[in-house]
Symmetry: C2
Subunit: 337 residues, 2 copies
DNA sequence: GTGAAAGCGCTAACAC
DNA sequence: GTGTTAGCGCTTTCAC
């Protein structure tokens, strides 16, 4: 492999000139620049990443911690990862893939051996131990998700509270006065998953504000689980005319259960979902949904971390506003005027 | 961060001694070894990855090229990636994630800037341009999948020809004399996906050997597509009593179509699938299947590449034998004695 | 069994 | 606008 010295010799300039042509950190005359670039091309020169990192303390590598827990929604995870890799490349960075279950040790290993310039940590939960460790590192980091204590780290996520509120407001606007909430399985709440709680809070707040009566049930995404949860909602609220579903796996089952009992969607019951768009679009009744803006979050995370590498301070918790995607599953309640 | 010099000073030894304690490349007295290790621990020393790579020309990074094409089966892809990351860690390597669509340029970039010690390239297709490039690199590589011309690179994959044959042989053993084959959509064949062709060849060979009559149809995984393909098979082979399905997306639809027309599985029609186990197990009628041994292939790929880093030669095309998983979807034909 | 020192290929002062 | 050079933190001869 050609080295920077080879290029310098070939172009008849000094090593530093080649370096500066590459970094753009000082002014170079047009002809020198051209000559150097030509030599670089002709020799097929590429800077040695290790040497660069040693001398410049920049690796041009971004560490990405992904959850390999299989209860994560795979298409969404894929969109996150893909977008992060592509965005990183736009900033001339490559992506080192770390798994959730290396936990804090993995972060320390990569950080202290200077393998990456920055960290993006996905799927951060309420009581996650990693934010506290991340703040102690030499490298900046961004969280996707919002822990109880972000420790001053920038966070990016969908504004789940606003999403819950948006769903209710859409239904209230259609005239619904009595709305159910079908959440994730109980364990998700017990695990302290912050987005589940935030969604519910937003839903409740909006219901209070609009004088809408509600009932909430966690839900296992099986036929039995869905039937039981639905029955519980109806028992508590006999006038139930709409349900907000924050449980992508329950959606197809719910539609089937309703179809089987002859309840029309949205004729007899309106449905709004919060979750991946993929899970909402292809159903027998295409769902009105607040979709997970994975690409937007991913880009934002990369941008944030890159800005911090350029020295910008950032302790923002950035919650992206929900976008309600209107489809066929919502309509005014059956007894509407 | 502590450097190797700090450790040496703290332990009262030379820098090279510390280095050799770490690498184990020369004999160290027990007490020196202990003293050095103690210092390492107390100072929280970690070797600087860049310095190491510069001096030792070893990065301890494995580059993994994954297809982000969404027509790939995500759960299977996930299992590949997860297993590769975990296996790499067992060999003290981290994983740099490259995407398919950076193509040859991505390989050259990472290889020539010495960012990785080796490459694993997933989802290699028949006429893939990358093998030819990979052979020219300083780093060894392994392919997952088998191109027409592996260029001498080691390949690991499921033996799809044997898988096709195994399915037919299982059915022939049950007494079926007339077996259909439902393949992936036509485009997959046109794209030159080698595993699709290999499966079909294995299926045909076994059918010839057992004197079983066959019919083959590509299949779009929609209701219309499945109905049409099934009708075509039956028209060509009125005595059809079993179908081999190499199209995971068509499976649920196929079961539904058969159920709707009152055809029992396996009573009226036996089904065998080739594809991810996830797609075969949870169906109304759990499928007899040749599953994709993702973990096994992934481990094999990492092991192969690590061996090559230790200097071993390897130009093997390693095709893992299919494992037929017996479930409820196969039985002797209806008119069996 | 251990130490001294010459690089590895770059970046970024510090010259001019 | 360009060149010289001192490191960056390791690995690995070479020497004893």
């Amino acid at each position: 492999m050609a080295t920077i010295a080879d290029v310098a010799r070939h172009a008849g300039v000094s090593i530093s000139t080649v370096s500066y042509v590459l970094s753009g950190k000082r002014a170079i005359s047009a002809e020198t620049d051209a000559r150097v670039r030509r030599s670089i091309r002709e020799l097929g020169y590429r800077p040695h990443a290790g040497a660069r990192s040693l001398a410049g303390s920049r690796t041009n590598v971004l560490a990405l911690v992904v959850p390999l827990r299989s209860d994560m929604n795979l298409p969404v995870l894929m969109r996150f990862v893909t977008t992060i890799v592509l965005s990183a490349r736009e900033h001339d960075h490559d992506v080192l893939l770390l798994t959730q279950d290396e936990g804090v040790d993995g972060l320390l290993r990569v950080a202290e051996s200077a393998m990456a310039d920055a960290f993006i940590v996905m799927d951060v939960e309420a009581d996650d131990p990693r934010p506290a460790v991340l703040t102690g590192l030499a490298q900046p980091s961004v969280l996707i998700g919002v822990p109880d204590d972000p420790s001053g780290l920038p966070c990016v996520d969908l504004d789940f509270a606003a999403a819950g509120a948006a769903c209710l407001e859409h239904l209230a606007g259609l005239g619904h006065r009595c709305v159910g909430f079908l959440g994730p399985p109980e364990q998700v709440y017990l695990r302290g998953t912050s987005f589940a709680r935030r969604t519910l809070e937003g839903f409740r707040g909006a219901a209070d504000a609009h004088g809408v009566r509600t009932a909430e049930e966690p839900c296992t995404p099986t036929f039995g689980g869905v039937r039981a949860a639905l029955a519980a909602l109806r028992e508590r609220r006999p006038g139930l005319s709409a349900v907000v579903v924050h449980n992508e796996d329950a959606l197809p089952v719910l539609q089937e259960v309703l179809h089987a009992e002859g309840a029309g969607v949205p004729g007899d019951l309106s449905l709004v979902a919060i979750g991946p768009d993929e899970s909402a679009e292809g159903l027998p009744v295409p769902m009105t949904v607040v979709a997970m803006p994975a690409e937007q979050i991913a880009k934002d995370a990369v941008r944030t971390v890159m800005r911090r590498l350029d020295g910008a301070e950032d302790h923002t918790v950035r919650l992206l506003p929900p976008q309600l995607q209107l489809r066929a599953s919502t309509a005014p309640p059956p007894n509407a005027p």
